[in-house]
């Protein structure tokens, strides 16, 4: 299913960055055709609209589990600091665990270039007009990335607080990154995204003195749509909060 928002599948490009992968041939994730049903004027369908995506996500999940790879899906609005967080995380985590990254953006390989500079393996997926990654795209990305067994794979989703929430990728955990400059109301305005998060990272806390945002209220809004969700204040710039973030990752 490469038919994504506004574009149709042919627009989606998956690119391995030079040096990031020594890939010889593609690895395919098996997809079974599904049989069909009854007869008549009215045909009962009763099929979830995301069933195909969810099916592919289940394949990704199995593929990852077979290799002992843990995938973390990072979602946020544009510019909250996902790539910055990844670069710093890779550097700090480097010796502890191999890390590889699947970068999703509508256009450019800028983010993949930033990741590659850290030495981690990276694949860039450009979705064209599409505003989210889906399980089929991740399957293609993973086949190119060929992450080492036991590694941690970060999936940086397209910067968008709406659509990525609907598409299961087969990840082990979903992390929503929100920066303090976005205001404290984002969890209420984009509840679907926050409701499904396993962790909310509140980035750029170094800027708190300059904005009219209170961390306790932001955390309260996260919990009003996702009771009990862990909220982790952090600053990629100063390094504050990086330790609990690393601990959370290592525990995956």
């Amino acid at each position: 299913m490469c038919g994504t928002c506004g574009c149709g599948g042919s627009d989606v490009r998956v690119e391995v960055l030079a040096g990031a992968s020594q890939h010889g041939g593609h690895e395919h994730i098996a997809v079974h055709p599904h049989p069909s049903g009854p007869t008549g004027d009215v045909v009962e369908i009763e099929t979830a609209l995301l069933a195909k995506n969810d099916h592919l996500a289940a394949h990704n999940r199995a593929w990852l589990a077979e290799r002992g790879v843990v995938a973390v899906n990072l979602m946020s609005s544009p510019g909250s600091g996902k790539t910055s967080l990844l670069c710093r995380t890779i550097t700090e985590l480097g010796p502890l665990r191999p890390v590889a990254v699947v970068e999703g953006d509508q256009e450019t390989r800028l983010d993949a270039d930033r990741i590659r500079a850290t030495g981690a393996r990276v694949v860039q997926i450009n979705t064209g007009a599409g505003c989210h990654l889906d399980a089929a795209m991740l399957a293609r990305g993973l086949a190119e990335l060929r992450p080492a067994p036991g590694s941690l794979v970060f999936v940086e989703n397209v910067g968008n607080l709406v659509c990525p929430a609907l598409f299961d990728l087969g990840e082990a955990a979903r992390v929503v990154v929100v920066s303090v400059t976005e205001g404290e109301d984002k969890p209420l305005k984009y509840p679907t995204m926050f409701a499904l998060a396993d962790l909310v990272v509140v980035n750029k806390v170094d800027l708190l003195p300059y904005v009219d945002v209170r961390l306790d209220r932001l955390a309260e809004h996260c919990r009003s749509v996702n009771p009990g969700v862990r909220v982790l204040p952090l600053s990629v710039t100063t390094g504050e909060g990086m330790q609990p973030w690393r601990d959370w990752l290592v525990a995956r």
Partner: protein, 115 residues
């Protein structure tokens, strides 16, 4: 605009079952907490069905309301928005309905066996 991808999914789900048999109507179930807007789907539907067996089909929506169960006091209640809060003050509630997103059924334009 994820409604376009979702609506493309309608065509895929339906044609996987009914093949090239012309379809006159499609019934969808879109829960009020699903994050998907029916009007936007209606708009996309015309675009994505052009040239498919679903072209010109009437689109109908079932809109189940959001419902939740409170784990603290055990009450079942209607959720008008995704803020999870029970009347008893507890936020420990579980969404039990409203997130549906599926194709319920289709009406074929002609009487023909579907295999």
């Amino acid at each position: 605009m994820h409604e376009l991808a979702i609506t493309q999914g309608v065509v895929d789900v339906v044609t996987a079952r009914t093949g090239d048999v012309p379809v006159a109507g499609v019934r969808l179930r879109v829960g009020r907490l699903s994050g998907v807007v029916p009007d936007a789907m209606r708009f996309c539907f015309e675009l994505v069905t052009a040239g498919t067996p679903l072209e010109g089909a009437a689109l109908e929506f079932e809109r189940p309301e959001g419902r939740a169960r409170c784990r603290t006091c055990g009450q079942d209640f209607v959720l008008r928005d995704p803020v999870l809060l029970c009347g008893c003050g507890s936020a420990d509630v579980e969404v039990v309905a409203g997130r549906e997103l599926s194709v319920v059924s289709v009406v074929l334009a002609e009487r023909r066996a579907v295999t």
